[in-house]
Symmetry: C2
């Protein structure tokens, strides 16, 4: 993409109303723009990152054997009356009346609707296990929306629902989701720690939240330092293998890790003092097992292998996709702007032309831009008539992990400059070598 | 995908409330399920097709140089008061009040919001031309929703907005959209005819609708038979070339083609009688040039090359993505079910095992399934314990363009059967040859 043709309205000043760094940087980098309180438009670069995260979530869900689908944003109030949650949910549920006076709502979650689909379509344990999920816009009418997309009213969420014939199968689904979530966050370059949590209005006893450590997190968290050393890495995972999934669950949940809601001071103090950590965290996902709470209320039954009708066991599992962008920025930035992990960066490399209008430099940049495009590096070429300082500031602000700087002086020696956004380190090399290096890096990410 | 692990709740009976064939077939094939009046859940196979169409629209829009972004579903009423449309829009606009008593609405279209984004970010003609678009859920509170996704209340639409410094540039944007839409529909295997139309609540004089011919269409259409011979085919298009785009516009709009709203009997009668056609059509897109209607009302100005402030010239351009699925099915089905064009089929090929449980047949199917997957043919393997007749009926209903049937008798002779859904023709050949043939077909689609 040529910056001259891209819609990237960056801001020079810090927006007054943005309290946290991710909100400030997303506004300044031209990623989002507020449309109404707690409701955002995603400008091209913001949308591009959102789409990348969405695709990673889809890939990892499909890999785990889950079925993608899509439920609508608006729902009928009737289903929520059936489960009893219509009155319970409070003012955070956006209630709507249509032209015929029917009560509707903007879905904050989908347990009722998915249970309705299930009970009409599945009658036998032979069609289980089944996990259905979607990634769709939700609405929660927060009393004080703030922190940009981290606590907006309209937000993009993956929510998935497992249906199993009994509790052991449902617990495997729970473990399977934990593993698939760990993989999802790792792929995004995030360290997310599963912590025992409270279930809130979803219900159920078994629930873990996934928290990313960041100074600006809304929750206080307490954990054993050892948990930071755990990585899935490239281990082969068989999502149908109950033992393997349970093993990973155990590995990640044995070290102490809790939010302030479930913190147990006595247990925490059993850890050696030098491993006791407390900090702040941002919730980026949550998994629940709630058994037959909804299937009982809504009469969702299957015939089991003993030919007996039993209520289906369920859980639900969410990843806050739009909120993740904020969390990634909170966890990865510096004073000059965002620092994207390679897996989710909007563009693979920025190309800065130090002397726009100079024939030799323009030609070298065009050739580089073309080669990088063909190689799939998805370059962003700053071809504007701006001075070098302004171009560097823009590139630092939007945070592409790599930058290639092209100027007449380097070209005289046959080199360009390859700069890493995170370390700030630069190296001179031929354009060919720079592209080769980046191709290798992205092939591995 | 193995059918035994897929959520595909097909129906044997015709649903009573579905009046048109696409609605009936989408329900029967387990693609959609009604969640509330005019609001649908997209089950896995429906969602898969929806996503394919969405991706084709994105690819063709990006190819035309347009910037993808995403606006929210809910908007503040204030912007619509500024343009004067809040009161004009009538009961089809779903009006919402949030917990603080603020007036909001579920966007039926986005002229106001995009103009607001534009006026805050762009001040100079140097940043033009600019076209921004998104693909997002919209809501129109139809008094009598019907025909399934063809006239639903919550629907998925691509809407794009061009911003240009003067009318000639804006007319190029109009032509460019026409060309990109023709390409989009052709890629989907659809014949869509641009017809001069009325502008309705969007406003403006220049507007064309794109109609797909189908007996069940909501509009009566009149056209010159010659228009059916026009194809873009694989001609190279330079979307920055004003003359080429204007030429294609002329080629497609010179033959008479109008809906009943703009039909001119006298002009129609100038065509030789054997070329005068009238039939019914389904609207699948519309393009508008409306000049400065919104930029005047909302004060969206740019400084032109003479350093003079002028209101920006705009147009808007829509493709009904969810409705397209209905239109494709209306245009391509038979008594047994859907017939997907190869470009949008949910799976590339169906594999039918005639003798599930037979070691040899199961083994051959597994090998075939594996090879087809590796080749990227995205097979759907019917591995259920059902008799052959039921498997054939399911495959015909869901309408994959190709089927490979594997049975013990054929295997004895080293062959499988490759069947074309549309023609019904079958050919015996080795499994290798069948896969080779399909790979070639899909490489060209």
């Amino acid at each position: 993409m040529r910056l001259s043709k891209y819609f990237l309205p960056t801001l020079k000043e810090n927006p007054a109303d943005a309290q946290i760094v991710s909100h400030r940087l997303m506004l300044r980098a031209g990623m989002i723009r507020q449309a109404a309180s707690g409701i955002y438009s995603w400008l091209p670069m913001g949308f591009k990152v959102l789409r990348k995260l969405e695709n990673i979530v889809h890939e990892e869900q499909i890999r785990a054997g889950h079925n993608p689908m899509l439920m609508p944003t608006l729902q009928s109030a009737d289903l929520w009356r059936e489960s009893g949650r219509y009155d319970d949910y409070g003012k955070e549920m956006l209630r709507i009346t249509d032209r015929h006076g029917r009560d509707m709502l903007y879905g904050p979650t989908n347990e009722e609707l998915i249970t309705d689909i299930f009970r009409d379509s599945v009658q036998s344990h032979k069609d289980l296990p089944l996990t259905l999920y979607h990634i769709q816009w939700k609405f929660r009418d927060e009393v004080r929306p703030r922190f940009g997309v981290m606590r907006g009213r309209e937000f993009f969420m993956k929510d998935g629902y497992n249906f199993d014939v009994d509790k052991p199968s449902a617990m495997h689904a729970y473990n399977r989701h934990l593993v698939s979530y760990l993989r999802t966050y790792e792929r995004m370059g995030l360290k997310a720690i599963p912590m025992r949590a409270d279930s809130g209005p979803i219900g159920g006893d078994d629930t873990h939240e996934f928290l990313v450590l960041a100074d600006t997190g809304e929750s206080e968290v307490f954990y054993d330092k050892n948990i930071l050393d755990l990585h899935l890495g490239d281990r082969e995972i068989d999502y149908d293998d109950w033992d393997q999934c349970a093993g990973i669950m155990k590995e990640w949940t044995t070290p102490y890790a809790r939010t302030d809601e479930t913190h147990d001071e006595a247990k925490f103090n059993e850890i050696p003092e030098d491993r006791r950590m407390s900090s702040r965290g941002i919730e980026v996902g949550q998994i629940f097992y709630f058994g037959t709470k909804y299937s009982d209320a809504m009469n969702a039954k299957v015939v089991n292998s003993e030919n007996k009708e039993v209520p289906v066991h369920m859980g639900s599992h969410g990843i806050g996709v739009s909120r993740l962008i904020g969390a990634i920025i909170e966890a990865s930035h510096d004073d000059n702007g965002i620092i994207w992990p390679e897996a989710v960066t909007p563009f693979g490399v920025g190309i800065v032309n130090l002397k726009q209008g100079d024939e030799g430099t323009d030609g070298a940049c065009e050739a580089l831009y073309k080669s990088a495009t063909v190689l799939g590096l998805d370059p962003l070429y700053d071809d504007r008539n701006e001075r070098a300082g302004a171009k560097f500031a823009s590139m630092d602000l939007i945070g592409l992990p790599w930058r290639i700087t092209v100027g007449p002086r380097g070209l005289k020696n046959g080199v360009v400059e390859l700069t890493n956004r995170k370390s700030g380190e630069s190296e001179e090399m031929t354009a060919e070598l720079a592209l080769e290096k980046l191709t290798k890096i992205y092939a591995g990410s």
